[in-house]
Symmetry: C2
Subunit: 106 residues, 2 copies
DNA sequence: CAGCATCCTACCAGATACTG
DNA sequence: CAGTATCTGGTAGGATGCTG
């Protein structure tokens, strides 16, 4: 189980899954949307998600080429629990920062 | 938000939070329960969780000393979304492994 | 019992440059 | 547009030995 978590729970994976949950994205869409991600990590993370069967990659042989990433049905089942956790993070971010301040100062 | 995830979502944190969600544990309880964790990482992870205000540490000045770790109220609010994700992981582990096999072989 | 200090390694992840 | 290749520093995390 911890293996699954390590894949799904890392810095970029969750962000990508949540983004792709909203709508399919192309490579550079994601690159722009996920502020701060390097090409390397974007590609790596997408490959991992694809290998895990959470994301599917559709290549349209146009000129210039376009590649569309979207969630698989399995990926979509992840969306709900992941969003719950993301909501929790947003909701309690302030409290965590306060706790931090308490431990840092006193 | 990604910062929160990095702390909460790492290899050991979620395991500890879920364990402490069941009942308070002492240091060596956790060390035994979390098969494979080193003292170093157990201590480090507990300290991080404590600093984040998710876990509280109660020292009982007995001989020999005993230290009890438990979830704070904030930590308990994390339990639900985290369990949801853990359940998801257990439920879909097989599918992910199958997807892996597909990408490895063909 | 419940840690801390130190050393060490391997992998992770960013920056940068290049390609079909 | 959608990647790959290479180099490099940082950090996660294990092993070991010691302490109040």
């Amino acid at each position: 189980m911890t293996d699954i978590f390590r894949r799904v729970g890392d810095k970029w994976s969750m962000l990508l899954v949540i983004l792709l949950g909203a709508r399919p994205h192309r490579y550079n869409d994601l690159h722009r949307a996920v502020e701060g991600i390097s090409q390397r990590m974007l590609t790596r993370t997408l490959r991992t998600l694809e290998t895990d069967g959470l994301v599917q990659r559709a290549v349209h042989p146009t000129v210039p080429p376009s590649v569309e990433y979207s969630l698989t049905p399995l990926g979509r089942t992840l969306l709900e629990p992941l969003s719950a956790l993301a909501d929790w993070a947003v909701l309690h971010e302030a409290e965590i920062n306060e706790a931090h301040a308490r431990h840092t100062s006193g």
